[in-house]
């Protein structure tokens, strides 16, 4: 069958909301786009363990410590599902790691910001996980089956993370003056980078149209960002805190909040590697991988030895059962 015909059938399936599965024919660009997006998503989960991992040993109560450990462990689990989803497209996990370590593959820029106080654990949960959910809920209906199914599970856990983050901030907002200050400061620092998580605005997002036609994306970056602003502008009132945007204002005619201009210069600089923690985060991942090389080699060597022993044992057993003479 020629490619044009296959392409037509492919698009028809997508239009009818039939999931594309690993064994199905798909255009090379669709495959490439998904590999880029899924691996980037997987890397974000794994690199995302670092800024929060930074506070596990300093969590202010045993309950908070246990919750934070569980949360970071969930993120590693999300990384695993996503790498597995990526592998269904014909790339190995090691190849994906290589792309991360060489700087070829990106991860969410938000994790290039530092976590300076305990309140950051709350702000990350509320804002960063909140923005991630906004992005990922539509992805659970995306056209590629393995990605969509991974997202269903990821979203369930993320919504728990978001609630626990908000609860951390709520507790701080009812606390002493230092705690309230910590809370507002964390919101101030995480708000704008969270808005940037939705990606460039629609007129600067060249892949959006194609991704929407393929139903990898269901909403544009700006649509999702607006939805996020509308939700957070209301939620922040429960905290008795403010969002750091003097232009934030309810627009009765649009039935949406207006908000201020995003600093795209900062966004592109952080994407290009010039954020506060880019070098550190990547170096940490590379170091963990390199320090683990001897462990992975030992595990493989042991498996080989075990298999060889089993083979020898089986051979001896077979020989002993042969009739004598």
């Amino acid at each position: 069958m020629d490619t044009t015909k296959l392409s037509e059938q492919f698009q028809q399936k997508i239009d009818e909301d039939i999931k594309i599965e690993p064994q199905d024919w798909m255009p090379d660009e669709y495959r490439k786009t998904l590999i880029r997006q899924i691996s980037q998503h997987a890397h974000s989960e794994v690199v995302g363990m670092l800024p929060e991992g930074n506070w596990i040993t300093r969590a202010p109560s045993l309950r908070r410590k246990a919750i934070l450990l569980a949360k970071v462990q969930d993120e590693a689990g999300h990384g695993l599902y996503l790498y597995a989803a990526g592998e269904t497209l014909g790339i190995t996990r090691d190849e994906m790691y290589q792309q991360l370590h060489s700087g070829k593959a990106k991860y969410s820029s938000i994790f290039n910001y530092p976590t300076l106080t305990w309140a950051d654990m709350g702000a990350i949960g509320w804002l960063v996980d909140g923005a991630a959910i906004m992005n990922q809920v539509p992805l659970s209906r995306c056209s590629y089956g393995p990605y969509a199914r991974a997202m269903v599970r990821v979203c369930k856990e993320e919504s728990f993370h978001q609630r626990q983050g908000f609860e951390i901030l709520l507790t701080l907002s009812k606390g002493n003056a230092a705690q309230r200050k910590m809370c507002q400061d964390a919101i101030n620092r995480w708000w704008w980078p969270s808005l940037m998580m939705f990606g460039p605005s629609d007129n600067n997002s060249p892949h959006t149209a194609q991704s929407m036609q393929w139903k990898i994306k269901r909403f544009t970056n700006d649509e999702l960002r607006q939805k996020f602003v509308d939700v957070c502008a209301e939620q922040v009132k429960f905290l008795g805190m403010t969002l750091p945007d003097k232009d934030l204002k309810w627009n009765e005619a649009k039935q949406h909040y207006d908000f201020g201009a995003i600093n795209w210069d900062e966004f592109w600089n952080v994407v290009k590697g010039n954020g506060p923690c880019n070098k550190e985060r990547l170096a940490t991942r590379v170091q963990a991988w390199e320090n683990g090389a001897w462990v992975r080699e030992a595990a493989l060597a042991y498996e080989d030895k075990k298999a060889a022993r089993q083979y020898r044992y089986n051979t001896t057993q077979a020989e002993s059962k042969m009739p004598a003479g």
Binding site: I56, L62, A70, Q73, T171, N176, R296, A298, A299, A301
Partner: protein
């Protein structure tokens, strides 16, 4: 006269029970702290998850134990309770968090072994293996302890410990019988940690009063532990070990290595910076 003696004995036993519970809790917490330092830095993603999960189990065990110690202490007159626990900042109520966060080095009773730095993957694995074997036999005994709550905590924990023991044994075997490098690193790890294992089997006064006197002989715990270690070491092609008479000791009575101070400085800083804040 006779009833006075009984009352005194009962008091001594309750005091010892509190010390024992704190000792068990401190071991769990310090192990949880050390394991959690690996989070995000493991050699393979699956093992990062496994180790974080183990850290979470340890923190969970420490919470059960601290909560029980807090309950026992809260039942006593405040002055008496405060005489039993060496707090730096006197808490309004004794809770799991005040016990974990408001005591300094000299009040912690964990074994020296468990506060030692993580080192490499081999050293971390070996420490978890030693701890798991120790806890496995100890909790098996404690499941039958006369104190019901302690017995229940042991019963719950022994299920987790059984998994930790399986996981860490498999890694000891894999590393011991893996490559030349992994074997060398395991031998180095044994050298680094062995001086601290003897303390596990040296009873503190409160342990003798509380549970070891009636049902758990130290000899048995020690021989069960050593047999299991040597059994796994044999499969791992590592040399058999014996426990000599000289070893590093003191943790159980509050005399620690230099490492614990740094662990606590990191762990406790928020509670100490903002006393009585709610988190």
């Amino acid at each position: 006269m006779e009833s006075d003696t009984i009352v005194m004995n009962e008091t001594a036993i309750t005091d010892a029970l509190i010390d024992c519970t704190l000792q068990l809790a401190d071991d769990s917490l310090i192990m949880g702290h050390r394991c959690s330092e690996w989070c995000g830095h493991g050699p393979v993603l699956e093992q990062d998850i496994a180790l974080t999960n183990i850290a979470l189990d340890y923190v969970g065990q420490s919470r059960n134990l601290y909560q029980y110690a807090a309950l026992l202490l809260e039942q006593l007159p405040k002055e008496k309770a405060l005489s039993l626990v060496d707090f730096d900042i006197i808490p309004e109520h004794i809770t799991e968090d005040s016990l974990a966060y408001l005591r300094d080095v000299g009040a912690f009773k964990n074994h020296l072994l468990f506060e030692q730095p993580n080192g490499d993957w081999a050293q971390t694995i070996l420490k978890i293996f030693f701890f798991s074997v120790y806890r496995f036999y100890l909790f098996q005994q404690l499941q039958n302890n006369a104190d019901e709550r302690l017995a229940a905590i042991a019963e719950k924990s022994v299920k987790e410990v059984t998994y930790h023991l399986k996981w860490s044994s498999e890694w000891v075997i894999r590393l011991g019988d893996g490559t030349d490098e992994s074997k060398f690193r395991m031998l180095q790890a044994i050298d680094a940690l062995w001086p601290f294992v003897g303390e596990l089997f040296e009873p503190a006064g409160y342990e003798t009063l509380c549970y070891y006197s009636d049902m758990l002989t130290f000899e048995r715990l020690r021989s069960d532990w050593l047999n299991k270690i040597n059994q796994i070491f044999e499969t791992a092609t590592l040399p058999p070990q014996s426990i000599g008479r000289w070893h590093q000791t003191g943790g159980k009575n509050g005399y620690h290595s230099e490492h614990l101070g740094y662990i606590l400085a990191e762990m406790q800083f928020l509670q100490r910076t903002f006393p009585n804040a709610i988190w």
